[in-house]
Subunit: 70 residues, 12 copies
């Protein structure tokens, strides 16, 4: 972990199933275009309500990844 | 979502089962007396411990709803 | 709950399975050496990513317990 | 202002025109049902975007009012 | 404390005598209309100054109470 | 709004005219390169002073947009 | 901007017209006695309500200025 | 309270007797040199301990006052 | 105060009488087992309500002490 | 600095030598791909410990740059 | 440290050399006009970037000093 | 890093030389009695001033370590 530089991006994952699923979906989406994802941090947990129940969980994440050598 | 006014209230849901269940219980309780619930935001996650295990999950939520036209 | 004094400690639990399991593990570990655990509060939820998926959930908790009379 | 007790409520006003209009709308709505509104504080300013422009301004306010003697 | 749902409201108590008196006044006022008050948390301590001395203490509180079964 | 993933970016808009214009300029700039802009949140409002007057308003925004399916 | 030292002061501007006018008034007042005002940052936006409308906007600012060489 | 401009300063009052006395001392000191003190807000409450007891209470305050017309 | 190292611990004192008494009780309890207590900082003030009155004050403190040379 | 729009990105620089070196490394890395870097702000300072000493300093920065005209 | 009253002021020191030098410069500047400087606290660390390197470090400090008896 | 539990403690290191030295001293002191120190985070940077210069740097750290299996 010596002299690397990392970048963080902020994503919001959403899911009809659970907070953990919303997080996994955001990370899965990030992994489609970014290599070397290393860690995440939950910034905020929200959701939409329909008919008196949670319709979607929405979790805002910071995701950190290694900037590769060039 | 044009020119509506929304109100937010703060509830604490508790559950012996999970964080998500505590959230659903608070929203379900709000839905008994308030129509047009729209969104929620988790403010705080706490719990009580008994015999070295989580006895109750307690999640503090802000819940937003549309103020109806009069 | 009258005139007791409580102490809080900060632990980080980790789990490959879920946020709730990470919390239970931290509390279970604390219960090995501290009696009278009473409550917890989630301070931070993070995790490590491997191959585009959450590899470990890491939850930072404050845990409160009663200081016993001497 | 001697020994009064005040209550605060949290509203979100929205407007297609401006931040100030969103605030005025939330206060106007509160004034329909609450007497003795005294002050407000802006908690958050957000908005929705459509076609590359602000479509609605949304301002979250705390509004304080005097609880009347009974 | 099992599966209850709690609601929190925010009040500002004021008193010419002390911070604790301002808190007691806000709680006493809440107790006129709400049953089952359970806990409070101090959010802010302010006051007005007249002639170089504190004229009124103003303490903002969150107050939590149990929502009763229906 | 089901299972989408959103990304947020942080921009600072500046304007000699008003806070709202600074916000519109930042959003307009983002719209040149990003499709599907959905919402914004004001993080910070600052400005530069020249000759005892506001010379530029500078507003820091988080702007959220939908990551498109691939 | 090399080796200067800056000082910040905190002012609250008020206006019956708008947030921007409240800010301009605070800066204008500061400029009566302080030279070299350089930047400001909005800390808080509040106001007083009369008859269901905003009576005064009150904006708290930090204002920075260069300490001159002596 | 119309179009006034207010300034806030930050003081730390200390007292061997109580938090309220520490606050009164800071305000009393400010009143020696500043006219038109209007309000205060508690920012921080600290103290020094000697021989297992509070030796001094130290309370950090923001104090607001009207800038007079010139 | 030269090259010492200090440790801080977090305690919650409770009292039926006052905030200051809750603080003194937490410090007194700490002094039973820790030497060289030096300072404290109030983190949070809460309490329990019974029959419309404050039943217990609960004050969360950080307490700092010198780690002795070995 | 008139009507420009700026973007901020968040990077974490690490260094075995010092906090300042960690900051310089993050900025140097950003400069490989982004023109017009203008300012930075330190968000967080952390590090890894090996054998009772700091092994790496890790500094999280927000870095702002001008979005160029197109 | 008994019954003194302290005042805090906020300065921003800048330096082309290091964070510590920026702090020393702000304190040195304050010492030109204020006696009895006692402590400081770092509020913010920022800087300007030129040609991919830190051009100036800018550190915002609160500086506390004893108000003298009159 | 799988299923470990970590504990964090808060120390304040002080040094007449630099911020980094204050941090190293706190970590070095912790290492005298705790094994498996893993990471630290800077919470606060303060200092004492004598004769218009920094006399001591004081840095508050959270330090994390692995709780060993028993």
């Amino acid at each position: 972990m010596s002299n690397h530089v990392y970048k963080t991006i902020e994503l919001v994952g959403s899911s009809t199933r659970s907070m953990e699923d919303a997080i996994q979906r955001a990370i899965g989406k990030a992994a489609e275009t970014v290599r070397n994802l290393r860690w995440f941090e939950v910034m905020d947990t929200r959701g939409h309500i329909e008919q008196g129940r949670v319709a979607h969980w929405q979790v805002t994440l910071k995701i950190g990844f290694t900037l590769e050598e060039e």
